[in-house]
């Protein structure tokens, strides 16, 4: 094994990890806000990828330009999901936890089924885009440009999110609602509105990730499943509810995944991720940055 192989692995792992973080942050945000795990998170990603694909296929809009449009569309979609589905699920008088799980899980199945019905199960790809298929290489280390762009977008999104949550009124309202939803009602903050915007924001972030991913990954109705699983691990690793935990968790997952393949056969690369995850759960059950 050469130094080149190790650097290449870790660089690829870092790029992938930043993207994993961006995919997972919406999940962490929604969970932190209202203790609801969105089991349709992978399907949100799928919808975003399809939206990017169709914008490209019908209007020749490059995924890079489509990204803000897709994020905006997903924002509306996320808010609607809260207002039309989740709002009622959290009101359940009995077995509230189960009702929430099944409502988002059911939503996932419906979305997957509808996608297969309307879009057919064919694998779609964006064949040529500004960045797609381009590779940047220094000293024998190859960095694919779409993933590089994804990593930059991820860092930018997390920075923006940091300022948004810490420096704006809405961000503070978000934090306050998360701390004590009952108390914020007393100071005149509409809980439903904050939750709806929170869902919108979470969905918009995964929308951004989906648009970037559509540049280098194929799209089909089940595409969300394998990424959603990694997103759940990322969130649990980084700490449930912590936005920056998702960022750190994503990087850890990406690096551990890449590092594992240097030692173990590639078919066992998930073993590293789950081993680290188990370790965190044993030693620090709330996750690396969890505050619960």
């Amino acid at each position: 094994m050469t130094a080149e192989t190790i650097i290449q692995s870790l660089a690829s792992g870092l790029l992938m990890g930043l993207l994993y973080g961006l995919i997972a942050v919406g999940l962490a945000l929604i969970f932190g806000l209202m203790d609801v795990v969105n089991f349709a998170h992978g399907e949100f990603l799928m919808i975003a990828m399809y939206a990017t694909f169709f914008l490209f296929a019908f209007f020749a809009i490059d995924p890079l330009l489509a990204a803000p449009l897709v994020a905006a569309a997903l924002f509306v979609f996320g808010a609607l999901v809260y207002l039309c589905v989740v709002r009622f699920a959290v009101r359940a008088k009995a077995n509230a936890g189960m009702v929430q799980i099944f409502s988002t899980f059911g939503l996932a199945i419906v979305m997957r089924g509808l996608a297969q019905f309307f879009f057919t199960p064919d694998y779609r790809s964006i064949t040529h885009s500004w960045l797609g298929g381009k590779t940047f290489s220094i000293a024998g280390i190859y960095l694919p440009v779409p993933q590089l762009a994804g990593a930059l977008v991820s860092i930018a999104a997390f920075t923006a999110l940091y300022f948004f949550i810490n420096r704006t009124d809405f961000g503070r309202a978000l934090e306050a609602t998360r701390e004590d939803a009952g108390a914020v009602a007393l100071v005149g903050i509409d809980k439903n509105r904050v939750f709806a915007l929170g869902w919108g924001l979470g969905a918009a972030l995964v929308g951004l990730a989906g648009a970037i991913m559509a540049m280098f990954f194929y799209v089909y109705p089940d595409v969300g499943a394998s990424f959603a699983l990694i997103a759940y691990v990322t969130v649990a690793l980084g700490g449930f509810g912590s936005v920056f935990g998702a960022f750190a968790g994503g990087i850890v997952v990406g690096l551990v995944e890449a590092g594992t393949t240097l030692i173990l056969p590639p078919s066992l690369k998930s073993v590293g991720i789950y081993a680290v995850y188990l370790l965190v759960v044993f030693i620090r059950p709330r996750g690396l940055f969890g505050s619960l």
Binding site: T135, Q147, F216, Y218, Y220, P221, S267
Partner: protein, 415 residues
């Protein structure tokens, strides 16, 4: 209403008009189970397969002037013209769901035979259920060699398996070496279920027997979100030939990742699967010029056997795609099964099994380049000769074996 002459006449006319419908309803139907992934990661395969089976059923149930068993008659003459009815079931690429669905097809839908399954891993469980209920099973498109070696009496496969396919690849390498081409090292790249494992085992054994050096043997997890680490290893090995055994999703990702990491393999000789699918070529076809895949079907055959082209047209009208290695084998799977049921003159499992054992269908009466369809004692058809196809100028052309070849191989692939 009084009974007038006019009403009697009207009534009689109505009865006369309805009579043929009633008579038609009396003709029995023969239910055949078709078990495929209609949802989940490989749903695209199932949806295309459904169209292939429907094309076959249409040819069996109606009159067509093709030199194909049951084409020139309506329905199954051996069963009084009974029509073939397909009952589709979804296994979602999951062996356990396959087991449950096969059981449901047999006990509730009363199918007399089952055809399946795309994933070899699912064929394992489905064929076990069929064996228990003594219902014949045809592996239309499963290629794992271990499937027919389990001593099952109700298991049949008309198509070649991966040892035959891999042998063809190594025959091809040997032939190329004789012409003075340098082929010494191989990289194997295969997914981790029975398909990839069996395929790589066959290739490892052949490589050892014939003196090729395997410089990388990468087993990866199917449906991976990223294959970067895997590709780095095959890039480092940089063998003369890369031999992938991958389903569609991984095939697309493999080719994309190779390009991203700046690796241009000298040659790719693929174990079909993802490398036979239109989706792969739609996505990354520009990077696959010159890729070679094994197959059991080629549209070239239409030049010699016009019905292949005509049946392909029927399939394309339904699916919008040309027959590929999978849809053609699926089509033949149903034809072979229906032919046996017709000769058995019964829907009894044992009788159909006996008819399958007695099958001897000349190659010209199929849409495949096979010599014939005749099963050995393990239910495998050893007369199904594989071919190697090369993707060149957006088309697949047969390049091996020589008697079937329509063009010389481009080697190395990028030349």
């Amino acid at each position: 209403m009084s009974i007038t002459r006019r009403n009697v006449l009207l009534g009689a006319t109505a009865v006369a008009a309805l009579a043929p419908i009633a008579a038609r309803a009396e003709t029995s139907e023969v239910a055949i189970g078709v078990i495929y992934p209609f949802s989940g990661a490989s749903a695209q395969i199932g949806v295309d397969a459904q169209k292939a089976f429907e094309t076959a059923a249409e040819i069996i149930n109606n009159k067509y002037d093709f030199d194909l068993p049951l084409a020139r008659t309506e329905g199954l003459p051996g069963l009084g013209g009974a029509k073939v009815k397909l009952v589709f079931a979804d296994h979602q690429a999951d062996p356990q769901k396959g087991r449950a669905e096969a059981e449901r097809l047999i006990t509730q839908d009363k199918v007399c035979a089952i055809v399946g399954t795309y994933q070899s891993a699912v064929a394992v469980t489905v064929s076990q259920i069929c064996e228990r209920y003594q219902i014949p099973f045809i592996s239309a498109d499963n290629s794992s060699p271990s499937l027919h070696r389990r001593g099952l009496k109700f298991y049949f496969r008309a198509a070649p398996h991966d040892e035959m396919f891999s042998a063809a690849m190594f025959d091809f390498f040997d032939a190329m070496k004789k012409k003075g081409t340098k082929i010494e090292t191989l990289s194997l790249f295969h997914e981790d279920t029975i398909f990839g494992t069996d395929s790589s085992n066959a290739q490892l054994k052949l490589a050892a027997d014939r003196g090729y050096k395997v410089v990388a043997d990468i087993k990866y997890r199917a449906n991976s979100p990223s294959l970067t680490a895997e590709v780095q290893q095959i890039k480092a090995a940089n063998a003369d030939v890369l031999m992938p055994s991958s389903y569609t999703t991984d095939a697309i990702l493999l080719v994309k990742t190779m390009a991203e990491l700046g690796y241009k393999p000298k040659n790719i000789v693929a174990q079909d699967a993802g490398f036979a699918e239109k989706a792969t070529y739609d996505a990354v076809g520009d990077k696959l010029e010159g890729v070679i895949s094994r197959g059991s079907f080629s549209l070239d055959l239409a030049q010699k056997r016009p019905m292949v082209g005509l049946i392909n047209e029927m399939y394309r009208a339904k699916s919008g795609k040309d027959f590929n290695d999978y849809s053609s084998r699926q089509f033949m799977g149903l034809i072979v099964m229906a032919d046996a049921i017709n000769r058995a003159k019964s829907t009894d499992g044992d009788k159909i099994r006996e008819a399958l054992v007695a099958t001897d269908m000349p190659g010209e009466q199929t849409i495949m380049p096979w010599r014939r369809v005749k099963f050995d004692e393990m239910g495998q058809n050893n007369f199904a000769d594989p071919v190697l196809l090369q993707y060149a100028a957006k088309n697949f052309v047969t390049i091996f074996p020589e008697q079937a070849a329509v063009s010389e191989a481009i080697w190395p692939m990028n030349s």
